[in-house]
Symmetry: C2
Subunit: 480 residues, 2 copies
C-alpha cells in the first residue's frame, strides 16, 4: 500500500528561474486553490481557506479592539445607486456584472453584483443616521465581491474575490481622517506581525486613488520578483458619498451636517503576497502565526507500532494546548513522503518520533527554515517548540524585511529611474511634482506605476520627470 | 442631554395579539435587521450579525469536531451545469437570478447566481477525486445564496440569504447515510443546546425533499403561533449528482465506482426561529449561549460618578473573563431608559450598581426572565452570574419544550385533523400511506403540509386520508 518516496517537490519549478510558474504550481500542488469552470473565478480549497480564516481572525480581533462591528449588506445594488457618486460609477461601471433576469422575468432595473459596497451601505446610513448621537458608525463587512477582470491569476486577481470592507461615518473631518490612518496602521500591524510581510505605507496619487475617495492610503509590499503588490487600502471619502446619498445628522449646535466617511479593505489577494513572500523551491513556507498547521508530528513506524503511535498522541496532546497540531499517522504513506508533503505545505515545525527516540527519551524537531534537525530531550519539547516557532516567525519577517530594505533604490531623473528599474528590480524612490502628466510619463517610459507618496519625508528636490521643484517623495515600481 | 424614560417597548405590539407585527417590530426596533432598497433583500445589522457569528461559531466547532473543513466555491454557476441533474434544475430553475452581462458585454452563456452549490462543487469533486484514498471529502462552505422569492419576510424568507452548506463524498452508501444522520444530529444538538429551540427530527416526503436528493431529513421547530419552521436539512444524495457530474474513484478492488454524497444546510432563517421562540412583549429574549451580550452592567450615577464608574469597570473586568459583557456608561441616557433598552434587546442578565450598593458591598442582578431583582453580595457575583445564566439557558429550553410537547396532537381521520388544527394550533401526528395524492389532499383541505416522517415510530394504522393500512407516522402542520 505504501507509496514510494517520490520527492515530488522536484516537480515545482525553481522560484528564481520561473517565478510565475513556481507561484501557480505551489498553489495547485499544495491544494490552496484551484481553477473553476467559471472564467476568472477560483475555488479556495480547505487548506487555502484555513489561511483566509486566519486572516479573518487576525483582522477581526483588531477591528473589534478599535470599536468596529460586523454586519451584512445585500449582494445586489440597483444600477441607479452606483451612479449617484460620479467618480465612483466612472471607476466601477466598466467592471460590473449585471443581473438582468430573475425568477424567469426580465428586471425593470438591472441589479449590479457589488464590486464594492459604498453605494448600498450609504443608502442605509442615510436611513440610520439622524443625530450626532448616532455617530460614529463603525461597521465592517466580510463579503464576496465581483469585478469583471480581463486577465486573472489565482488569489492576485480574480473576478470574484473575498474581502472585508469597513465603512465608517463620523461627525467631523478630523475624526474621519484619524480613522483612515488608524485602519491603515491596523493593516500594517497585521500584515507585518502576523503574515511577516513588511510594507511601505503611503498616500496614493490622484490617478491611483479609489473612485470616489478624497484620499487613498495603501500598504505596499514587494514581491521576490521585484514587483510591488498593494496589500490593503484605507480611503478618506470626505463628504463625497454623504452628499450623493444625503447622509445628514443634526449636530449639537442644532444645524444639519453631512457626515464624513471612510472605507477600507483587504482581500484574498493578501494570500498571494503571503505565498510569494515566504515560499521557496520546496513549496510553501508559512509564518507560524498564520499557519493552519503549526506543528506536524510524524511517527516513524517500523515495529512496535502501538508504542510509537501512543507516544505521538501524547506529544500531540501536549502541544495542542498551545499550537495547531496535526498528527499524521496515515498508514499508506512513508515517513519520507510525509516529510516532503508537509514541507511543501509549509508547516513551520515537524516532530519526528520513532522507537529509538522513545528509548532515548527524545524527539527530533525540524524547523521549515532549513536550519536542520535537532534532537530534543522530552522535558524540553514544549519550550523548544515555543522558541523555534518564535524564531521562525521572526526569521520570516527579517528575511522579507532585508529583501525590501535592499530593494528600495533612489533615482533623480527619468533615465536613471529607467536604468535602475532594469538593473535592480524593486521600489524606486524619487521626487515628483504632483502632475498627472509626469506620473504618466514614468509609466509610459518604464512600465512602473506610482505606488505611494511618502507620509514622513518632506524634502525639496527636482521632479523626476520635469525637473521642477517638488516636495513629494514618491515610490514607483512595476506592480501586480 | 438625558432623554426621558420613554418606555418605548410599549410601542411593540403584543406577541399574543398580533404575532406577525410583533415579529417585524422586534427585529426593526432592536436593530437586528432592516429592509434594503433591493426588493426582497435584507440588511443584517451589527446586533443581528453578532447572532449569526454565534451560529457560525457553534456550528463550526461541531463541524470541525466531526472532521469537516471550510472552503469557498464560486458565486456563479454556468447555466448548463444546473441542468445536469434533472430534478435539481426543475426545482431551482424558476427561482434563479441570471447574470447576462459582464464587463459591458453580453455573455455567451448566462451565469446563475448560486441558489445552492451542488452543481459547482460536484464539478470540482469530479476533478479532485480519483482514488478511494481521496475519500471521504468532508467540506463545508459559508456563503450567500440567492433564490428569487415572490414574498419575503425578514430572516424567514429573503431573496439573498446567508447559510452554510456541507457537501461530502463517500466510498459507500452506508458511509454517506451515516454522514446524513450525523449532521442531522449535529443540527439538533446545536439548535436545542445553544439556541434552546427544541425540534422534531424526521424524513421529508418525496414531495418535500430537496430537488436532486434521494432522501431529505429535517429538524422542525414549532413557532408560538403554531406554525412549523424547518430549521435545518440534511440530504442523502445517493449517486444522483455523482452520475450527473461523473464523480468516480478507483476502489481498492480495482473497479471504478461513483461516490455517494450528502449535503446539508442551515441558514439565517434560524435567527427568525430564535426571535420568535423566546421573545416576549418586552422584545427579544436571548438564551445566554447565543446572546452577543450576556451581561450588561448599568451604573446608577447621580453623584460620586467616578467611584461608581470605577466599580462598574471592576465588575466588567471580573465578568469579562467568562462572559460577553457590555458596560453601558453612556451619559446621555438614564438608567431606566437603559433597563428598557437592554431588556428589549434580550440581554439575559443585568447588573445595576450605584453608590448605595457600593456602600453595602452588593450589586443588583436582574435576569431577563422576569423573575425579579436580586441583591447579591460582592463575593458571590461571579458564582451567582454563572448560576443565573445556566438557569436562563435551561429555562428558555424548558419553556419552549413544554410548548412543543403540549402542541403535538393526534388525529386519525382527515375531518379530525382539520378540526384539531383549527382548535389547537401545532403539529398533528397521524398515519400516512405514502401516496402523493393523500398528502396533497391534506394540504388542500387544511392548509397544512407534511413536515416529517417519524424515524422512530413504526406502528400499523389507517392512512389519515384514504384509510388504507399504513406504517409511516407523519407530522403535519401549517408552516413558514
Amino acid at each position: 500500500m505504501a507509496r514510494k518516496d517520490e520527492e515530488f517537490v522536484k516537480e515545482i519549478p525553481k522560484k528564481a528561474e520561473n517565478f510565475s510558474e513556481w507561484y501557480t504550481s505551489v498553489i495547485l500542488k499544495t491544494e490552496l486553490a484551484d481553477y473553476s469552470p467559471v472564467r476568472g473565478c477560483m475555488v479556495i480549497r480547505p487548506y487555502g481557506y484555513a489561511l483566509w480564516e486566519g486572516v479573518q481572525e487576525g483582522l477581526n480581533r483588531r477591528f473589534k479592539a478599535t470599536g468596529h462591528m460586523n454586519a451584512y449588506f445585500p449582494l445586489f445594488i440597483p444600477e441607479s445607486f452606483l451612479k449617484k457618486e460620479a467618480e465612483h460609477v466612472e471607476g466601477f461601471a466598466p467592471q460590473v456584472a449585471l443581473v438582468t433576469r430573475g425568477g424567469g422575468e426580465e428586471l425593470t432595473e438591472p441589479l449590479v453584483v457589488r464590486p464594492t459596497s459604498e453605494a448600498i451601505i450609504c443608502s442605509m446610513y442615510a436611513k440610520w443616521i439622524h443625530s450626532y448621537r448616532d455617530l460614529p458608525v463603525l461597521i465592517n463587512q466580510w463579503a464576496n465581491v465581483v469585478r469583471w477582470e480581463k486577465s486573472t491569476r489565482l488569489f492576485l486577481r480574480t473576478m470574484e474575490f473575498l474581502w472585508q470592507e469597513g465603512h465608517t461615518a463620523h461627525r467631523t473631518r478630523e475624526e474621519a481622517e484619524e480613522e483612515t490612518m488608524r485602519m491603515l496602521m491596523v493593516y500594517k500591524d497585521f500584515v507585518e506581525n502576523d503574515l511577516a510581510i513588511p510594507v511601505l505605507t503611503g498616500r496614493k496619487t490622484e490617478k491611483e486613488k479609489f473612485a470616489g475617495a478624497e484620499m487613498t492610503y495603501a500598504i505596499e509590499a514587494l514581491m521576490p520578483d521585484g514587483q510591488a503588490l498593494q496589500a490593503g487600502t484605507s480611503h478618506f471619502l470626505g463628504q463625497n458619498f454623504a452628499k450623493a446619498f444625503d447622509i445628514k445628522f443634526l449636530d449639537s449646535d442644532n444645524t444639519e451636517k453631512n457626515v464624513w466617511q471612510t472605507s477600507w479593505g483587504v482581500s484574498t489577494r493578501i494570500l498571494g503576497a503571503l505565498i510569494m513572500t515566504h515560499g521557496d523551491d520546496r513549496g510553501l513556507a508559512l509564518p507560524p502565526k498564520i499557519a493552519p498547521v503549526q506543528v506536524v508530528i510524524v511517527p516513524i513506524v517500523y515495529k512496535e507500532k502501538e508504542a510509537v503511535i501512543e507516544k505521538a498522541k501524547a506529544l500531540r496532546d501536549l502541544l495542542e494546548k498551545d499550537y495547531r497540531v496535526r498528527l499524521d499517522d496515515r498508514d499508506e504513506y512513508t515517513p519520507g513522503w510525509k516529510y516532503n508533503e508537509w514541507e511543501m505545505r509549509g508547516v513551520p515545525l515537524r516532530l519526528e518520533v520513532g522507537l529509538k527516540d522513545i528509548e532515548k527519551g527524545q524527539v527530533v524537531m525540524v524547523p521549515r527554515d532549513g536550519s536542520g534537525k535537532v534532537f530534543v530531550p522530552e522535558a524540553e519539547i514544549a519550550e523548544t517548540a515555543r522558541r523555534m516557532l518564535d524564531n521562525l516567525q521572526a526569521g520570516c519577517l527579517k528575511k522579507a524585511k532585508d529583501y525590501l530594505d535592499s530593494h528600495i533604490f533612489e533615482a533623480s531623473t527619468l533615465p536613471e529611474l529607467k536604468a535602475t528599474l532594469q538593473e535592480k528590480k524593486g521600489f524606486i524612490k524619487t521626487m515628483w511634482c504632483g502632475s498627472l502628466e509626469c506620473e504618466l510619463k514614468v509609466k509610459e517610459e518604464t512600465g512602473a506605476t506610482s505606488r505611494c507618496i511618502s507620509l514622513d519625508e518632506h524634502r525639496q528636490g527636482p521632479c523626476v520627470t520635469c525637473g521642477k521643484p517638488s516636495t513629494d517623495t514618491i515610490f514607483f515600481a512595476r506592480a501586480y
